[in-house]
Symmetry: C2
Subunit: 407 residues, 2 copies
């Protein structure tokens, strides 16, 4: 697969205290690359998570949901190349067996091991390979780094994706590092692809969950590649406590704001990386909607634009076809008044008050659309609701990838 | 534009008593083809209509809505190549002036002339051309036939689309003929493209509207090409009364059932023709959902499948990737139980009870997917709700057409 033209270089990231990484190669697919990732977490690590709202979740998603209330994690397993979704009892047993094997190797309880799988739907995870993968990865714990892990969790991804941030919490420098995979079957408002964030912060699980849920709403849940939602979407965040500061327990504790901001920053960076690796993407599109009745309405309008095949193909073609933005606003089913609407491409006001602006000059818009980062701004002129959503264009590359994915 | 491989031959259709057709060529675009259609309707013609639910409707849509309560029509004007949508006061004045000119030529009131325009959004209808088009088309009334009209109303359509049906109403043979345009920006539940149906039936406007609204729900509003909804969507049905039978006034009048069934038949044929001309379509896809909590829920699940880019690209690739159907059911947000779900491609049961069927043989499915007409069946196993929706595959042709539509 050709590397996305929107790819960013992998950032330099050091280790997170309390986190050890191992990867393994077991042939779920005809791959020679590593496809099982095992991450060991220090005792006492807090865990938070958000999973897909799909009505057909994978066994791994169900296991995460069952384990999250415990609030503690000692391990994470990620399988790439097989999502194990919609595989009935066989798949559920395979997922449980793999977590049990990892717990045995790590010396912890099975309900402290979280797992996630990504790949084709409907093929049960081969349990022998899954167990062998855990064994191999465990033997290599500490030998792999973030780049290895970011590569090993990918499927149709064309580049490894990671982000990092830091915060000062009660005098202690705290680090956060996240890795993410995702390229297609990406839609918001129902969690998202697979994302894993690690920190050495000391934070109570309930507060960590509160921070993660808030961050996900405006980051992972504000991106869309193709409006399709995976059965395996999972974001997990782990905080090992190794930074050594007193544990944060509530949002008004000193330093909690800084940690929440850093977590949101990592989530935002990772979410945008997913869009940058959107299947076939040639352009990153940022859709801002203001003046809506409320924020939720703004987000639905923004997603109507971001999910419109006609808007996305127009951007792919570098075509300043703002009429398609009008169409997408109109179909969203949200409060909107045609004659109050204004539309910008980049910094150029294109239409307002129900018509194109007088003396509209397409040249600066065409220049903006020729770039790799396109901004569409819509003001509905009704209220103070606003939303920001990221997507990519719809190109021949998307068809190429998806018209023949399995073979 | 290459003719759709799913095109059907234009059917042989005779005239409808009380209907005369004229077309004209005025250069809204760099076209030499006719692009204005004027249809004269006999005095007393009943009219019914359904228009887009877009919040950004065109002036023509607003005019139709204002005139429909009158229940009577003497004329219809259709402009192709310019939708006149989102053109402010200038566009509203142009639409009103064109209807007034047609009324003058036809010797009727302006509120008895309905109009519809289709094409690029945001460019005001040039009023001089619009008036000249009416004059030219009026001078040619009676010289054009259904094929001329079906061609003249098209934009990115690759073949002319018409359907016909008949019914016996109180001993009188009644005819119905419809024409339709549409290929992209097609999504259901908010009316649809442009469709015009003509009959010589004698029917009260309120009953005619009742019949049309019922027919549209399961036909035009059950298709989708790309999930995008036009600002100009309009379906109008005209009944001239020339068949001579006593006027139908209520659904329990003898013959009303037959007329309603024939109207629904024409709507269904026309709706499927639009999908057959879906931009880039290589395959017609029929999605049936049964076992849903109720019919409305079934329709939302069916549309989630029919609008999924991943399902549509899989079908384009002839790929029996039923996991993507699971994904689309899961994301629909409707009541669904993974372990009660069953999925068919063509006549082959592929998955049931939350997993692939034992001994699944992909060969008959692959053979079915190699054809031009693909059937996807989903049973949710919950209730008696059902729905039938039509769509097409998503191919390179769609990108080719829409990444550079305006130029």
């Amino acid at each position: 697969m050709q590397r996305s033209p929107l790819a960013l270089p992998f950032p330099p990231i050091g280790p997170i205290a309390g986190v050890r990484i191992g990867t393994a190669s077991v042939p779920y697919k005809q791959w020679t690359r590593d496809c099982v990732t095992l991450i060991e977490l220090a005792p006492g690590t807090a865990v938070a998570g958000v999973t897909t709202r799909s009505r057909c979740p994978s066994p791994e998603v169900e296991l995460c949901r069952a384990k999250l209330p415990g609030g503690r994690a000692r391990g994470l397993i990620v399988n790439a190349g097989n999502s194990n979704a919609f595989t009935g009892l066989t798949g559920r047993q395979a997922a449980a067996a793999q977590a049990a094997r990892a717990a045995e190797r790590l010396g912890c309880r099975a309900d402290e091991v979280f797992s996630a799988s990504t790949g084709v739907i409907g093929v049960p995870l081969p349990v022998d390979l899954a167990l062998a993968g855990v064994d191999q990865a465990h033997a290599r714990l500490g030998a792999a780094d973030w780049l290895d892990a970011a590569n090993a969790i990918g499927t149709t991804d064309t580049f490894p994706k990671a982000a990092t941030a830091s915060a000062m919490v009660r005098g202690a420098p705290v680090r956060l590092t996240g890795i993410v995979k995702g390229s297609g079957m990406i839609a918001p408002d129902m969690a998202t692809m697979l994302g894993f964030i690690f920190s050495d912060a000391a934070v109570a699980p309930s507060l960590w969950q509160q921070m993660l849920s808030a961050a996900v709403a405006s980051t992972f849940n504000a991106i869309t590649v193709d409006s399709d939602t995976s059965t395996s979407d999972t974001v997990l965040a782990f905080a090992t406590g190794a930074a050594g500061h007193p544990e944060l327990a509530a949002m008004d504790d000193p330093g909690a704001d800084a940690l929440a901001a850093a977590l949101a920053d990592v989530c935002r960076q990772l979410a945008i990386l997913v869009v940058r690796d959107g299947e076939g993407a040639q352009k990153l599109i940022e859709v801002t909607v203001t003046g809506a009745a409320d924020d939720a309405s703004a987000k639905r309008v923004a997603l109507s634009i971001a999910n419109s095949p006609l808007v996305k193909t127009a951007i792919a073609g570098g075509d300043a076809n703002w009429g398609r933005v009008v169409m997408a606003v109109g179909k969203a089913g949200e409060p909107a008044e045609r004659d109050l609407l204004s539309i910008r491409f980049g910094d150029t006001l294109v239409a307002q008050a129900g018509a194109v602006v007088p003396g509209y000059d397409e040249a600066p818009v065409a220049a903006h659309l020729a770039g790799q980062e396109v901004r569409i701004g819509v003001d509905l002129g009704l209220g103070t609701g606003r939303a920001l959503v990221w997507t990519c264009d719809l190109t021949h590359g998307y068809i190429n990838i998806n018209a023949d994915y399995r073979s």
